[in-house]
Subunit: 220 residues, 2 copies
Amino acid sequence: MTEPSEHHFSTADIDAMAQRYRANFINSLSGFKSANVVGTRSDKAENLAIISSVFHVGANPPLLGMLIRPHTVVRDTLENILSAKHYTINHVGTDWIDKAHQTSARFEPDVSEFSECGLTPWYSPECVAPYVLESRLQIGLTYSEHFTLENDTVLVIGNIQEVIVKGDAMHNDGYVDIEALGSACISGLDSYHQTQRLAQFEYAKPDQPVKKKSPQGTER
Amino acid sequence: MTEPSEHHFSTADIDAMAQRYRANFINSLSGFKSANVVGTRSDKAENLAIISSVFHVGANPPLLGMLIRPHTVVRDTLENILSAKHYTINHVGTDWIDKAHQTSARFEPDVSEFSECGLTPWYSPECVAPYVLESRLQIGLTYSEHFTLENDTVLVIGNIQEVIVKGDAMHNDGYVDIEALGSACISGLDSYHQTQRLAQFEYAKPDQPVKKKSPQGTER
């Protein structure tokens, strides 16, 4: 092993970065991101947008948050959520990352990203927004609240109303094996990854060493 | 290939779940999560806590957000951030996920998770909060603002002041290859994963098919 090189970036270094370089750099720093496409509809069209900022907010009530940048293609998505109050979050599968990425192109407002990107809208009786048929984990939500952050990014929080899990991914303790489902993850703005489990650990206790969980059976 | 089984969960199904089952279930739904440990200090002790909710907020100004649940072990972290105004975010490496997980145990307030979990505090001249020496991507931040969400979870937003990247992970376009750095990701409450890159794509355009990026050299 050679001594690894070390890069140090100060505030001045970051300020001096060209816009695109800086976007790539800062977007890499948070770590791996979830890969989801968000389905909405307006009066005129179905809308689909890849979003790498979906995060867990709480289990009871069941809440998910996501960040939406204004002035981007996802702007339609925000408007649709605020008017229709329903939206879907669909895990991106490792076998269709190219189609999911293509939803980030700036299509005309009345064009459906579903047909343009080769993905199939599907409706549940419970939700007026379209799901992505190809997704193996689909979540239907209703709008709950939103906040505008200091950089005009909007944080949207939704209530989980419905969850569909395709495949034998339910563990006995409630954990959904999203790796077995083939869910992808993202780093930076455009890098897509599959995962490989290293370990699952028991609840940590101060007076005990870390313990691996014994394998959980899947529910049938 | 056999027909995959499909599980459907309604609001009533979710409401009926036992607390622990429900926590495991809902925590699986957002997709893969970033794996970071947050370093802070109080007058009395250095503090370290694993957090799976760090997310990108913006590149200019450079901002990261994270969610902190009240009444959990991470509560000390929140108090330290609000009083000292400085904190560090350190990528968890795939080779020390067990130590990172152990920081989630409920240690006494004056005990340092660094020594209890076998991790090493390290200080930069730029930041009063401790970094984790073992981490290969370290970020120093100052507190910027916070919001309390409907379930009393607190969203903390910080300004990036300093970034240290160890190893040849800087691409020519600013992307940091966090897979090459060995950054881990998380699913659910306790499952840790390594990643394998599938593809990096060019900026998507409506009239062009998805294009893979040509490989980017690393900066030396």
